[in-house]
Amino acid sequence: MEQPLWVPVLQAVVVFAYYLLITAVLIWAERRVVARMQSRLGPNRVGPFGILQTLVDGAKMFFKEDITPGMVNKVIYNLAPLVGVIAGFLVVAVIPIGGEVTLFGETFTLVVADLSIGVLWILALSSIHVYSVFLAGWASNSPYPLLGGIRSSAQMISYEIAQGLAVASVVIYAGSLRVSDIVAAQSGPGFIDGVPAWYAIPLFPAFLVFVIGMVAEAGRPPFDLAEAEGELVGGFNTEYSGMRFGMFMLAEFMSVVTMSAIVVPLFLGGPAGPTFGLPDSVAWVMPILWFFLKMVGFIFFFILLRGAMPRYRYDKLMNLGWKVLIPVALVWTLVTATFVLIEEAGGLPAGTRLGLAVAAAVILLVLLFGGRASAPDTRSVAKAPDITAGRTPALDEPGSADLQATDHQEVAP
């Protein structure tokens, strides 16, 4: 399969421009949509509907002073923003943004490289983003960036495990690390007629864990603890300004796009979709369109989350990651493996299958919501005995009702 040199060059350039452009549009779309959710207009001056706002903002960044404070570790301080952006671009190398395209007699897929270790590549490169955050915080030699950097790297590594385990069940189901194999395994009919064989359906818990994990990995609201401005000023990038700050912004917004792009081939069938019987000459557009639509759906989900959700508390964030997502993903990995082996051995009758699915759904719902209803916030529970410590009035003692009432008022704030 000898290809002329322009094919890989074209693949690289197209993918690079594709994600850069979508990131630029995302920033604009986010500002517009969040503005609408807050009864504002949002940027609407530059270009039609203000769509060129990002471009102008980016250009403005060039003309801003790029301050390097005196106390920083210069080498790492300069390196950190580059690491984030470069890793962000490299993650998407294995994601197909469309199907096969024939151009000037050469047929190729719209992907930079369909590596045999595709899934590992995705996980490895998206973990490199942690380095950018942590090194930026550490190299700044300043209190707020240090705290912000440590905090968000702890957050990212915690959710990375959950994500890795969620993807492991995809690998178990598909039996391959190659992204094109995973996409191919999701083509064809699903369990039920008319429903595609996307892994989001049989592996729904893993899908859920992955989606929650990707919001946390991208450091987006409601998990944007990295830049909780009320507590940490700006988090790890406080000491950065000018274009280097712009690089962090780009990396953060791009991780929204790349995460949305990653989830599509892993759980939503990649660029596959109906072509509506179009002739071959135009049918190649459809995979590009399907991939775009699926990805934009997730990007929109990110934007809506930002507009709708308040910021999570840090201890709750870590509890969710360690005590809910990781156990769920671990158990689900084993469950998936068991089911695949049962399927290999001949499969279960339809009735048993349905029963198990219902049982699993009930267990999942109980795990997710049952625990929360019965166990109120740990902080107020822990506080309550301290106030009444040393004086435990019997219920029939005079004035005990008053005491309880005052206790209650003391606890409330």
């Binding site: 060059v9 690289a12 790029d66 209190p143 406080t238 712009g246 990781i326 990995t333």
Partner: protein, 119 residues
């Protein structure tokens, strides 16, 4: 085999060129007017007091880092098994369940001892 990575290398080159290029252009056209206040650590307008070498942070973060190592190694072990587990069959699944089970016991113990409480 290695030629697969040529386009990746091109993409890497593009990304590096873009990122470094932006910084270089910015440093050429941007102003540079340093003053002592600008070059000091930013502490919301206060005169910087903290020496970051003595800044303390919670030991919990070390716990998270150590747990992360354990579980990340677990994930790394799961991946090769996930690719070939159809050949390994029930025996492989049993072994993996044993491995995850041992870690799971330690994990439950860790949670029970309050190792993951943030208060």
């Amino acid at each position: 085999m290695l030629s697969e990575y040529l386009p990746v290398l091109l993409l890497f080159g593009l990304a590096v060129a873009f990122a470094v290029g932006s910084l270089v252009v910015s440093s050429l056209v941007g102003p540079r007017v340093p003053n002592p206040t600008k070059l000091a650590a930013y502490e919301s307008g206060n005169i910087p007091l903290a020496d970051v070498r003595n800044t303390r942070f919670s030991v919990k973060f070390y716990m998270v880092a150590m747990l992360f190592l354990i579980f990340d190694i677990e994930v790394v072990f799961i991946y090769p098994w996930a690719v070939v587990f159809r050949e390994l069959g029930w025996f492989g699944l049993g072994q993996m369940a044993l491995f995850i089970g041992i870690l799971g016991v330690a994990f439950v113990y860790e949670i029970g001892r309050g190792g993951l409480e943030w208060d």
